[in-house]
């Protein structure tokens, strides 16, 4: 993953944390240019790096390794852990035609 894409992923994670109301920072990982480090004010620290051929690996100090097949799963997992009280919606597609 290019550094440009890694920076974009860091921005996506950072934006999601803002939406959930979590005080945290997401920075490029100095040891893994394609990954990032998430640090919350409560002391949680995770390294998030892209998996091959796709998906995400999450390393955390206390819990070891987690894998996610894609960004939606990664975001869900982060919200459940870091912002369990944040509202979780579900996409509903109605039956009424648009046109």
């Amino acid at each position: 993953m290019s550094s440009h894409k890694a920076a974009r992923v860091a921005r996506v994670l950072s934006g999601a944390l803002r939406v959930w109301g979590v005080s945290a920072s997401v920075d490029r990982d100095p040891d893994r240019p394609d990954g990032c480090v998430l640090r919350t004010q409560s002391g949680v620290r995770m390294h998030i790096v892209p998996a091959t051929p796709h998906g995400w690996l999450v390393f955390r100090d206390a819990r070891g390794l987690e894998t996610h097949a894609g960004l939606p799963g990664l975001l869900r997992s982060l919200r459940q852990e870091l912002a369990p009280e944040a509202a979780a919606g579900r996409l509903i597609i109605g039956s009424q035609s648009l046109l």
């Binding site: 974009r8 996506v12 803002r18 919606g89 009424q96």
Partner: protein
């Protein structure tokens, strides 16, 4: 049988919904209109102010429409449709007037999704009334009024005979809240009905516009020159609904899709509830750019643009081609 158009008239207390509706119902073009009204409190004042002509008027008793919407509205609309089907009522359109305190979103959700009525109806327009004389103060004091304006397809500036919305800046303020909703001025309740009920709002192209923030509402247009994979679009909407449902007030877009070249998808949602995407036969103009207009409570355009790009990168990485 083709679905009946249904419109929702919303607007804060005293903003002139009933006056507007009373005038509109005198228009011969709206003669065959069934009206569903409800009142907040013990006295059905709105109902008393409505002039009954050839319209079917149904009063929902016992409280705010948005709170009881799943039951009362669905039951009332269903009853109207049933009476129409057996020839006991003649109407070609339904208009729902909400109470001034109503959040229109649950009403729209019910119209879009309820199995008993959604297939028989077609959401035509959401009309918000804003009082030219007191509108600024109302927007300042009542977040619900901001949401009503943000969810509208059209905004009617009522009592324009009392105050000029251009001079006061109210028109411009509402444009920042909801740039894609045309504004119509009503003097003594009079406004051109054909401009309020002129077909589906989704017939109109989604326009580009600049980002705005006003009264806690942000509106912006995401753009993308390359078409999206259909899976990307689906994942994007799922992520939005899951994480931002209540903050996402309205989303509508014209999307170039890889799998349907030359046939853009029209998408439209209110919070976490969306219509099924529809595919146009062709782009409506020479602009082939994907345009997704988002009206939200505090969502950031850059974040959503990045989210869209990361999701599409992931889908491309998984694609077999």
């Amino acid at each position: 049988m083709s679905p009946l158009p249904v419109s929702v008239v919303t607007g804060f207390l005293g903003s002139g919904k009933t006056t507007l509706l009373s005038r509109l119902l005198r228009d011969p073009a709206l003669a065959r209109t069934a009206v569903i009204v409800n009142e907040f409190g013990e006295v059905g004042l709105d109902h008393l102010l409505l002039e009954a002509s050839d319209e079917e008027i149904v009063l929902l008793e016992g409280g705010c429409l948005c709170c009881q919407v799943r039951g009362d509205l669905v039951r009332t609309a269903g009853s109207l449709l049933e009476r129409r089907a057996r020839g006991a009522a003649a109407f070609d359109r339904i208009v729902i007037e909400t109470t001034g305190l109503a959040d229109p979103a649950p009403i729209l959700h019910a119209l879009m999704t309820d199995r008993e009525i959604a297939d028989a109806l077609r959401l035509e327009s959401v009309i918000a009334t804003v009082d030219c004389a007191a509108g600024d103060a109302t927007l300042d004091a009542h977040p619900q009024s901001v949401k009503q304006a943000a969810l509208a397809d059209r905004i009617v500036l009522t009592k324009a005979d009392l105050a000029d919305p251009a001079a006061s800046g109210l028109g411009e303020r509402l444009r920042r809240i909801n740039p894609s909703a045309p504004q119509l001025a009503a003097r003594h309740g009079a406004v051109d009905a054909s401009r309020l009920f002129d077909g589906s709002p989704y017939d109109r192209p989604v326009e580009n516009h600049e980002s705005h923030a006003e009264s806690g509402v942000t509106s912006f247009c995401l753009r993308r020159s390359e078409p999206l994979h259909a899976v990307t679009l689906s994942l994007f909407l799922q992520v939005l609904a899951e994480h931002c449902g209540a903050k996402l007030l309205r989303l509508k877009g014209l999307v170039g899709v890889v799998e349907t070249p030359g046939r853009p998808a029209v998408i439209h949602g209110v919070q976490h509830v969306f219509h099924p995407p529809a595919w146009l036969e062709a782009w409506p103009d020479d602009d082939r750019t994907t345009r997704i207009v988002v009206i939200s409570q505090g969502l950031d355009a850059g974040w959503l643009q990045d989210l869209l790009e990361v999701l599409d990168d992931e889908v491309k990485a998984c694609s077999i081609s």
